[in-house]
Assembly symmetry: C2
Homo-oligomer: 270 residues x 2
């Protein structure tokens, strides 16, 4: 590895970052038709990789896309990429698209590539959020469609927020790239409708159930305002507090601190 | 032009089709953040190009994307492409994306490219449609997001349909890539909510107003079933009949034939 450049995977080959190009007829580019997943390797060790491979396969199936390699081949490509990119914190993004489409509409043999780049954890200080009325299309599939949150970037900057919080018809769902949790009277509450089922969410819930009451259910927007603590979980976040939503502050973090300690220990043993 | 290969435009250059590649960090590819427009050149003459440039600029503004060339430069690039691609029916697709994003989320300097390929008009026999409950995100912007209709391709094939017809909360909106019109008692009715405002739609409405009563308004789904004639308008369709929706046939085409003749004459004089 020289000059800080990295190696990516592209349709069967490990290539220098600069050579990772696709023809413009790709259906992910032309029509947003594709799926992805993202996970991290810490000091060369992939974190919860099998969970992410499970979800990647789920997303592909939902969009009728065939992953062009076996799971074992994909696993090996990932491990090779980790070897080629010596970073203490490496983010791995696997993308599968509808392929090079002759008519620019019907999917064909998918393109599969993996981007490997260093990443930073989101600030442990916590996030300020902007409420946005929005229902994600095919919410249980990790599609390429991020039109809404990227379009909200100027509004977020103006409000001093780092992400959006989606609600629809009076119900809370999720942030743009991570899941939502409320704490009320030491009960941990998280939406289970209109969301992407996060891998960090899954592990957090399993840990939380050993120490707290847990409610996985539809959550009304109104419940947010009376929550004792609010937090989010995601692969580049682990567990971090939400400190503000639309200007209302959430300050307590007793349960969050407990869960953060449990999670770190669990991740190190995984 | 050799071996049936074509020339595309890519960020300021005219390049052979095979060289039209983008790095995988493009935000159109990774996050579906981008817009496009499509029009055609018939025997080397671009059809309604200024209307399409207007809409392309509108879409770019709505997504806070700066087109990296002037309108005159874009026009000249298009005319050069038409010269380089000697096809009787040439489709021109201009795409503008959020650019190569270092963090894979925030837009940067946009990528602009134009795909130039021969196209075929949709069959004048008309289309069979499958009703789909769906509300397009940012419906007045020609975004890259076609997740829904591409996902419906297997269902369409099974039903012998060529496209979907969207409805939401009891209202009709549009097909996946063209606009909807109903004819009832020689009045021409077309939705004006939750739609992309088509260029062919605009010219069709202007012609229709000279010969028929026209109603541009919200249209209830129920109005579909009692319509005398149903048709769609689009750049690769001009005006073509809808012959069936979810199995119900529409046969009359008196008004459609009249409009088709008016449109062809208007297009030739444009």
């Amino acid at each position: 590895m020289k000059n800080n450049s990295h190696y990516f995977y592209l349709n069967g080959d490990i290539v220098p970052e600069a050579q990772a190009q696709l023809h413009v007829s790709d259906l992910g580019l032309l029509r947003g038709y594709g799926i992805f997943d993202f996970f991290r390797a810490v000091d060369g060790r992939p974190i919860f990789m099998e969970d992410h491979l499970d979800r990647f396969e789920h997303s592909a199936r939902k969009l009728f896309l065939d992953i062009p390699v076996t799971r074992q081949q994909l696993r090996e490509a990932i491990l090779t990429l980790i070897e080629h990119n010596a970073e203490p914190l490496l983010g791995l993004k696997m993308i599968l698209t509808g392929g090079y489409s002759p008519d620019g509409f019907a999917p064909t043999t998918p393109n599969l590539f993996i981007i490997a780049k260093p990443f930073q954890f989101a600030s442990a200080q916590g996030l300020k959020l902007l409420l946005v009325e929005h229902l994600r299309e095919m919410s249980d599939v990790k599609t390429l469609n991020y039109l809404q949150p990227i379009w909200q970037i100027p509004a977020m900057r103006q409000a001093g927020c780092q992400d959006v919080l989606y609600h629809h018809e009076g119900r809370l769902s999720e942030l743009s790239r991570s899941n939502l949790f409320l704490v009320k009277n030491e009960t941990i509450i998280t939406p289970n409708t209109d969301i992407l089922f996060g891998v960090t969410r899954k592990h957090t819930l399993a840990l939380a159930r050993q120490h707290f009451q847990v409610e996985e259910r539809p959550v009304a927007l109104d419940e947010l305002w009376t929550a004792d603590e609010v937090f989010t979980t995601g692969s580049t976040k682990r567990i971090i507090p939400i400190t503000e939503v639309n200007g209302q502050a959430f300050t307590s973090s007793k349960v969050i601190s407990h869960l953060q300690a449990l999670f770190l220990s669990h991740e190190q043993q995984s």
